[in-house]
């Protein structure tokens, strides 16, 4: 009995000593601000800022490597709080940015060049002739963007398109990097008019393969304020710095230009109709 007690006591002492020494030797002086900022950050560890997680960003902010508003997800409030901790002034208003998929060519309106058989993932599908869509710029609809979205803000429509919910989207930009076609863009949330096409093909070719593709007719560019919509290689591209009146959408002969809020409602309604039709 007594030996056991002695052995345990000695053991406890030795181990305790070891721990104490280790704590001295390996001690890391952590800036208390890092912990504070980490607590303020959203904690989703989405990586949208380019760092390996929220605590990594907090460290970068404290070390001055990243700005106090470096978190693309957090609201202005978050940036303000961090600025307070760091003792700096926050410069200017920051408009929240959200992602948008610049393609509306779903299976009903865009043709396919072959039946695809392989991994259900856009990056893999794109390795085979650039994917099964006739349009080499179009959304492949296999959901790689939805898979990487840490906020579950991207829905895959049954008709083969990805759609971002601007309410849930935080603008972290993960989908932008993941999309093998590079057709997801971050845009200011208050901009409503969008050209939902990324095709640089000539109008004639677009007409053949997609009913809602931009044919490069330039009507919108003429209708919109100077420089708000520019033509880049047969494609109308929106300059989000300039506000565009919603009436511009009306001139597009292929209905490629949409007003975001209304468009989402429309899509939802048609999806619901389809689902109801499928149930009958």
């Amino acid at each position: 009995m007594s030996t056991a007690v002695i052995v345990l006591a000695v053991l406890a002492f030795v181990l305790g000593l070891g721990l104490a020494v280790a704590a001295r030797i390996f001690a890391v002086n952590v800036d208390p601000r890092i912990e504070k900022i980490t607590e303020i950050l959203p904690g989703a560890n989405c990586g949208g800022c380019g760092y390996a997680g929220c605590s990594d960003l907090a460290k970068a902010i404290v070390e001055g490597k990243a700005g106090v508003d470096a978190c693309p997800v957090g609201s202005a409030e978050v940036a303000e709080k961090i600025a307070k901790i760091m003792g700096v002034e926050l410069s200017g208003d920051k408009v929240r940015k959200v992602a948008i998929v610049l393609c509306s060519g779903d299976d009903q309106v865009a043709s396919k060049k072959f039946y695809y058989n392989g991994i259900e993932d856009c990056a893999s599908a794109a390795l085979i002739f650039g994917g099964d869509k006739s349009c080499k710029y179009g959304c492949l609809g296999l959901g790689t963007c939805a898979d990487v979205c840490p906020f579950d803000a991207i829905d895959m429509l049954p008709s083969g398109l990805a759609r971002v919910d601007p309410e849930r989207c935080t603008g972290c930009g993960k989908c932008v990097d993941a999309c093998p076609k590079g057709i997801i863009k971050l845009v200011p949330i208050d901009r409503k008019v969008h050209v939902l096409c990324s095709s640089h093909d000539k109008g004639g070719k677009v007409r053949k393969i997609c009913k809602v593709g931009c044919i490069g007719c330039q009507k919108c560019a003429k209708e919109a304020p100077e420089g708000a919509i520019t033509m880049e290689e047969n494609l109308a591209v929106v300059n989000y710095d300039i506000e565009i009146p919603e009436s511009v959408a009306g001139v597009c002969p292929t209905h490629t230009i949409v007003i975001r809020g209304e468009h989402l409602e429309e899509v939802e309604a048609s999806e619901e109709a389809k689902a109801a039709g499928g149930a009958v």
């Binding site: 060049k113 072959f114 039946y115 058989n117 392989g118 991994i119 259900e120 993932d121 990056a123 893999s124 390795l127 085979i128 002739f129 650039g130 080499k136």
Partner: protein
């Protein structure tokens, strides 16, 4: 040493009987030829023609754009009707010249002239081979003159002429060996002279006894030449596996055959070298096996580069209604086509058609770890573990498990009872790893 076997491998159904007994026949001139500029691995040659140009047979229509690049020539005389994007059998659409033949088939000046080869030195031979636009014709399309230019300090002591033709269905090389054995050996002798190689081995799988016999007879008069019969197992014709089976030498992971003093050339390339050096004829045509149950009359066809697949298939009696796959190359490593507008390139060894009931689709069931892929992999990789890593997007782990050493032979996916698209996974991982190293670098 011969008869030695590499690790792994599979035994697919070969179906070579469909065309093995059929002599090579010439393809009549089609109405138009679609000649792609991107026909070699490396940098794409620079186009020299535009719409409306008249070209002569053998005229350079795109010039080499660097060391690892070769010129492209007009396969016949005629008019350039368009320069635009067309489906390239190995990838997406690439730039190609559409040539409408004028029916004269008139050679450009200075070509198609018999040369005095005895007086040539190595550099002259190499120059002719480069100017003729030669690439590896087994399907890899690596510029031949680059292979003939080992860097300082590397010497080649063995030249292997690859006549294994281990891909199922294909018989183009087989027929070439039967019909042109002497020409192939002369082409090989040019390679041997460039590199000062004394030992030349013609490697043929045992399922082509007639070709072995023919080549054996042909090498009798040549000193240092021999013919080796190889076991029939796929992928016997893959470079590293072939070298190991014949010489016992292991090409280091990530290395090249020249690291073990060996050069491997396809028999088709040797034949093209014969034409290029002896007659100064650029690479304008090649033998293509058009086969499979999707065509009524399978054939071995000598076709101009640029002949559309549709014309090739029509020559073989047209495509059966329920043909669902048309493959450029063999069924193990070839590329399934989406359009018959794809045209023959320098690397097109065959067009294989598969009907509905012959096609097995990938279903991507979970890996049951049966280990068949591990047994089949000739590179001794672990496709099971690799595919599981890649499914979870753990590309670093895949790199650590040497996915970049995968030769994409398809043996693993061929035997996978879960029908997982393993090669597709590995291509994905390789692409991601390239992307990561680009970012890092």
């Amino acid at each position: 040493m011969s008869g030695r076997h590499f690790f792994g491998g599979v035994h697919p159904e070969y179906h070579k009987e469909m065309t093995a007994g059929k002599a090579i026949e010439a393809m009549p001139m089609p109405e138009k030829l679609v000649v792609h500029f991107a026909q070699n691995i490396g940098s794409m040659p620079t186009p020299l023609v535009k719409r409306g140009d008249q070209v002569k047979k053998g005229q350079v229509i795109a010039e080499a754009s660097g060391f690892v690049s070769v010129p492209v020539h007009a396969p016949t005389s005629g008019k350039v009707e368009a320069v635009d994007m067309f489906p390239n059998p190995v990838g997406a659409e690439t730039l190609a010249a559409v040539i409408a033949p004028d029916g004269e088939d008139a050679w450009a000046e200075g070509l198609n002239v018999e040369q005095d080869t005895d007086s040539m030195n190595g550099d002259q031979i190499k120059g002719l081979i480069r100017d003729a636009g030669l690439v590896g014709m087994g399907g890899a399309t690596f510029p031949t003159h680059v292979k003939l230019s080992p860097p300082e300090g590397k010497s080649i002591d063995t030249l292997i002429l690859n006549g294994a033709e281990c891909e199922p269905y294909l018989t183009a090389d087989h027929r070439l060996m039967l019909e042109h054995p002497a020409e192939i050996l002369e082409g090989a002798s040019f390679f041997a002279r460039v590199l000062d190689v004394k030992r030349v081995i013609v490697a043929i799988e045992k399922n082509k006894p007639d070709a072995i016999e023919k080549m054996k007879k042909a090498v009798e008069v040549k000193e240092g030449y021999s013919v080796e019969a190889l076991d029939v197992v796929y992928p016997q014709g893959a470079e590293k596996q072939l070298i190991f089976a014949l010489t016992g030498r292991r090409v280091p992971a990530g290395g090249l055959p020249m690291d073990v003093n060996v050069l491997v050339q396809n028999v088709g390339t040797a034949f093209a070298a014969y034409e290029a050096v002896r007659f100064k004829r650029p690479l304008l045509e090649r033998v293509v096996t058009v086969t499979g149950n999707g065509v009524a009359e399978p054939k071995n066809i000598r076709a101009r580069i640029g002949t559309r697949f549709e014309d090739m298939i029509d020559r073989c009696g047209g495509l059966a209604e329920d043909t669902v796959k048309v493959i450029s190359g063999g069924p193990m490593m070839g590329v399934a086509q989406y359009s018959l507008d794809a045209a023959v390139t320098k690397g097109t060894s065959g067009i294989v058609t598969l009907r509905k009931d012959e096609v097995v689709q990938f279903v991507s069931d979970p890996c049951i770890r049966c280990g068949r892929c591990v047994e089949a992999c000739p590179m001794r990789l672990n496709p099971s573990a690799l595919s599981i890593f890649i499914e979870m997007c753990h590309f670093e782990d895949a790199a650590e498990y040497h996915v970049t050493d995968c030769i994409e032979c398809g043996s693993c996916a061929y035997v996978c009872p879960s029908q997982r698209p393993l090669v597709h996974h590995f291509r994905r991982a390789k692409a991601e790893i390239r992307k990561m190293s680009r970012k890092a670098g």
